[in-house]
Point group: C2
Amino acid sequence: MRATLPPKPGLYVSGNRLLDALPEADRAGLEADLEIVSLEAHKFTHSVGGVMSHVNFPIDAVLSVVATLKNGETVEVGTVGREGFVESDAALDSPLSQRTSFCQVRGTVGRMSIERFEARMASSATFARLMRRNVRALLFSAQQFAACNAKHSILQRSARWLSMTGDRVGSAEFTLSFDFLAIMLGVGRPGVSAAADALQNTGAITYHRGAWKILDKPLLNATACECYEACKLAFAASLRG
Amino acid sequence: MRATLPPKPGLYVSGNRLLDALPEADRAGLEADLEIVSLEAHKFTHSVGGVMSHVNFPIDAVLSVVATLKNGETVEVGTVGREGFVESDAALDSPLSQRTSFCQVRGTVGRMSIERFEARMASSATFARLMRRNVRALLFSAQQFAACNAKHSILQRSARWLSMTGDRVGSAEFTLSFDFLAIMLGVGRPGVSAAADALQNTGAITYHRGAWKILDKPLLNATACECYEACKLAFAASLRG
DNA sequence: AGAGCTGCGTACGAAAACGTACCGTGCTGT
DNA sequence: ACAGCACGGTACGTTTTCGTACGCAGCTCT
């Protein structure tokens, strides 16, 4: 679960691509600043309005940022894996979280205290720049989700979600219930059911009782709307600084 | 078209609430750094992928940030008036614009060169903090739009848009065609037509050939989904630093 | 083995929204 | 005054999605 980028010999590699993109000087002391934590599915990392105590850099967990509406419905407004971090508010000069985030697919994260994060933001322009460029990608993806939710079908959005998640867990298999996917996409469960059927019939995926397996990633990507590729590119660009 | 916040005597007041929220020290030289420009409706300020030459602080214009899909459709993913600025990428350590923005409702903006903007970001922590907290509100609103587009009806979203725009132009009257509103919301024109009818029948607004007038703002706000209020609060919070 | 929970298939009427098309109406420029 | 055009009312058949409901299957725990 480490070394997803070619590690430089002797350097600490977190497994989080964002941290791994830091130059050598900025990785000094990183190991001491990070606590590796296992997150179970559906475990919250931060709730809306709360004072943030930590920032989380996913390693092989997938986290979701969601907006909660007044009637209690939640809709996913961002997905974060090893290419990013939560809570992004910390990089925007705010100690308060304006959204809820939680673990979507179980795995590990590197957890850094807000104090250490802010200290690094203040002391290293390179670190701060990388974090802010990542927030830029997060903004891009939130905007893309807005357009996507307005224009794309449940099938396209389901395929997008599965493709994105496949990339982030770094594996073709992961676990997620229909109900949860329906909530994330802001649609009804029968809609997800129909989409999953269609995807399974084309041979792109199989699923069984919450266990998904991607059989044909190119086919799945092709079924997904352009938003998959657009967000992928945006995050890739943010890692290049 | 100036002095929307109580001006301190002798201080330059731009009419943009974000700039006006700056402390006295940070307003030094602001007048020299800003060029007041009149924007016609539908005039682009920046296109996606372009190198940004300027940042625009709306005074009484309303700008839209849109995502353009591959089939040419555009969907509004952010609305910016005198409480904010475009292009936000400049505050996230990027010289490239990742979205297109253009003038939605004609009016004036204060335009600052990217060089002067970056110089202020670098030299004043207060300025940088205010800009980044505004980007935080922009992120919040993009996320809210994502949830809104997934969950709320055309009527609610139309009312939200009109309420938001009314606040931003600082007037109960403004101009906008049905076609354009339909594009912004990512829906068909008949949908907007029906929503406008319903809103006019309740007495919240009137419209005639693209000229809208808000008659009963509280009623309009009540018809709008919660996203109106949520975004309003987010931007208000960003102005308080 | 049985109870109970979670995950999922499915059906179906209702509602929302789409897309397209056609036509009126009020500006605007010559 | 007239043509041309932008604006937008309206209609209608089609598609998508919703919401709800019911039932079955597989896992787990006792």
